[in-house]
C-alpha cells in the first residue's frame, strides 16, 4: 500500500466526491497521503469511507445499497489481489451494477527485476516476502536469481525467520551461489497457490505500473480485464485529479533513493521536519515498517529529530 502513488489516492478521493458514492478500503490505506489529503481527513470532511476486512465484504455492502455506487480500492501485492479478483467475479455472478474496483495492485517479481537491473544499486541478495510467496510460490523468483545472479531467500515474518533468511543469504554469497531458497517452507510451496493465481489471471491482466518512489515499472501491475470493465472504477474517472502536485512533493521527499537503499532517511531534508509518522509524505514514512518510520521511532536520537 505504501508504494501506491499519490495520483491514485487523489483519484480515489476524487471518486468519493461523486454523488451517491461509498468508498471502501482496507484500513491500511486510511492514512496514506495523497497530494493534499488522505482518506482519514476526507472521511472527517464528510466522504462516506468504509473500512472492510475483505473485498467480499465490500461486495456485500454494495449488494445492500443498490441505489448507491460502491468503489473498492484494490491495493496490495499478490497477497490481496486474489481476493479482489474474486470480489469482481462474485459481483459478476450476482449481476451487481454498482460495484467498482479502483485497481492499484502491484507485483513483486517485476519490481525485484527492476531493482536488480538498476546500475546504481548493488544488491547482493533478496529477502523475498513470505506472504506474497504463499500465492506466487518460490519458483517465481527463479528468473531474478538466474538472470541477475542475485541469491533469493523466501522468508517468514517472525524475527527468527528473518535472521535465518539473512544467514542463508550470507551462505549463498560466501559460496558464490545464486539460487532461490525457501526459509518459509512451512507456508510457501514452490508452485504457490494455484487457485489464487487462476483468480488473478481470470480478472486481471498485466500492465505497467507506477510505484511511489520507484517510478513506472513495465508489467509490474494489474489492470482489470476488458471482459470485466463494467467493474473498473477507472471508467468513472473523467479527468485528471485536481491539484495533483506530485512534483513538488517529489522534490523534497527522497523516498525513491531510500527505498533503493541509496540514501538513509536522515539524508532526506524532509525527515523529521516536514515528514513525520503523524504527517507522512513518502512511502517510507507512511508504512510503520518503512525505513523512515523505523528510523524516526527507534532512533536513539529521537529528541534531536523532533527539536
Amino acid at each position: 500500500m505504501c508504494v501506491t502513488p499519490q495520483r491514485q489516492i487523489d483519484q480515489f478521493i476524487q471518486l468519493g466526491g461523486r454523488p451517491n458514492t461509498v468508498l471502501a478500503t482496507f484500513g491500511d490505506m486510511l492514512r496514506v497521503p495523497g497530494s493534499n489529503s488522505n482518506l482519514e481527513v476526507e472521511r472527517a470532511k464528510g466522504a462516506d469511507v468504509r473500512i472492510v476486512y475483505s473485498p467480499l465484504d465490500a461486495v456485500e455492502l454494495a449488494c445492500g445499497m443498490p441505489e448507491r455506487e460502491l468503489i473498492f480500492f484494490g491495493i496490495g501485492f499478490e497477497t490481496t489481489a486474489p481476493a479482489v479478483a474474486l470480489s469482481i467475479l462474485e459481483a459478476e455472478r450476482r449481476g451487481l451494477r454498482n460495484y467498482y474496483v479502483l485497481c492499484a495492485h502491484k507485483l513483486i517479481p517485476p519490481a525485484l527485476a527492476a531493482l536488480a537491473s538498476d546500475p546504481d544499486i548493488n544488491i547482493h541478495g533478496f529477502i523475498c516476502p513470505g506472504h506474497v510467496s504463499t500465492i506466487i510460490g518460490s519458483r517465481a523468483y527463479r528468473t531474478v536469481a538466474r538472470d541477475y545472479g542475485i541469491p533469493c531467500v523466501v522468508a517468514g515474518f517472525e524475527p527468527l525467520d528473518i535472521l535465518q533468511a539473512i544467514y542463508m543469504l550470507v551462505d549463498q554469497v560466501e559460496q558464490g551461489r545464486n539460487q532461490v531458497e525457501n526459509q518459509y517452507s512451512r507456508a510457501v510451496s514452490p508452485d504457490g497457490n494455484r487457485g489464487a493465481m487462476r483468480c488473478i489471471d481470470h480478472a486481471f491482466q498485466l500492465a505497467s505500473s507506477e510505484w511511489r518512489g520507484l517510478g513506472s515499472i513495465p508489467a509490474s501491475g494489474l489492470h482489470i480485464r476488458r471482459e470485466y470493465r463494467g467493474f473498473d472504477a477507472s471508467i468513472l474517472v473523467s479527468e485528471a485529479p485536481p491539484n495533483s502536485d506530485a512534483e513538488s512533493v517529489g522534490n523534497i521527499c527522497e523516498c525513491g533513493a531510500i527505498l533503493k537503499g541509496m540514501k538513509t532517511p536522515r539524508e532526506c531534508r524532509a525527515f523529521g521536519t516536514a515528514c513525520t509518522p503523524e504527517r507522512p509524505i513518502g512511502a517510507c514514512m507512511v508504512s510503520s515498517e518503512g525505513a523512515c518510520a523505523a528510523e524516526f521511532k527507534y532512533s536513539s536520537h529521537r529528541e534531536e529529530v523532533r527539536a
Binding site: F26, R31, E40, I51
Partner: protein, 337 residues
Amino acid sequence: MKDEIILLAHGAGGRKSAVLIHELFCRHFDNPALNAMGDSALLSDGMRRLAFTTDSFVVDPLFFPGGNIGKLAVCGTVNDLAAVGARPVALSASFILEEGLPVEVLERVVVSMREAAREVSIPVVAGDTKVVPRGSADQMFITTSGIGLVPESLAAPAPDRAAPGDAVLISGTIGDHGMAVMTCRERIRFSSEIQSDCCPLHDLAAVILDAGPNTHCMRDPTRGGLAAVLNEIAAQSGVCIEIEEAAVPINEDVRVACELLGIDPLHVANEGKLVVIVPPEEADAVLGAMGSHPKGEGAAKIGMVQPEPVGRVHLRTGLGACRILDMPSGDLLPRIC
C-alpha cells in the same frame, strides 16, 4: 503543522489525543488540579480531599460480550476514582439519546448501570437527558461524573511519582475489552467469544493500597492501552519504564485476533485492569494481594522503572532485543496488506 479538523484519531487515546489535550484544553483551562493529569482531579476544601472525574461513553455496538455502554459508563468513572485511591461516593449520569431509540434498549442499559452501581454501593444522584434528531447521534451517548473521598493518610498514587527501581505490575490480561468490542462490531468469529473485562475496580484498588500503602502510580489503561499509560507515566515521572514482553499476560484469543488484524495488544483498551507501580519492597505484597483477589487473577510483574532514557518505554522482546514502545499514533486500524 496543525490539524484543521477533528479526526477520529483525536479521540483514540494516542498521540493525537495527547496533543489535543495539552495544546488546546490544558492551554485554555490551565489550573493545577487539571494539569496534574491523573485519572481524577484531586481537590481539597481544607478538611477533606475530594477526587472528581468525568467521562463520556460512545460505543458501537451498545451491547458487547461482557458488558454494555451502561456498565461501561459506571465502571469507567468508578475506576478513574479508584485509580487515585479514592472511595467512590456518588455518580451523575447524563444521556444523549437519538430520536427513535427503543425505550426497552434504554431501560436495559439503565438496569445494568444500576447493577454496576450497586456492586460499588454508590448512588447515581443526579442526571440529565437530551434527545437529538435521528442521525445527530448514534443511538445513545452517556456521560458520567463521579466524586470520591481520598483518605487523609494516603499519599495518593499519581502519574508523576514513579521512581527508578520501582516494580511495574498489571492486574491481569490486557486487550480484552478493545478486542471484544472490535470483533463483535466487525462480526469476526473465533472459537470462543472474546469477553470484555469491564468491571468496577474500587475493591481491587483498595486491596492494592492496603498491601502497598506507598504505591506510587495506579492507572487504568483504557483507550491507547498499556502503551499509552506507560508512556504518560514515563513522561510525567521523568523515568524510563522497561517491560518484559513475555511477562505481559494476554489471552490467547486476544493475541490471535490482534495478530490477524495487525494490531498491537499493548495499544488496545482495557476496562477492568490496573497498572500499578510500587517501590520494590512492596512489590511482592501487592502482587500477592492482587493475585488473591478475583479481579486480579493473572496479575503479573511485567517490568521495572529505570532512571533513563527519560520519558521512554522499552520493551524487552522474547529474543532479548529491546525496542521502543511508543504511544499509539491514532485510531486502531486493522491491517490487511
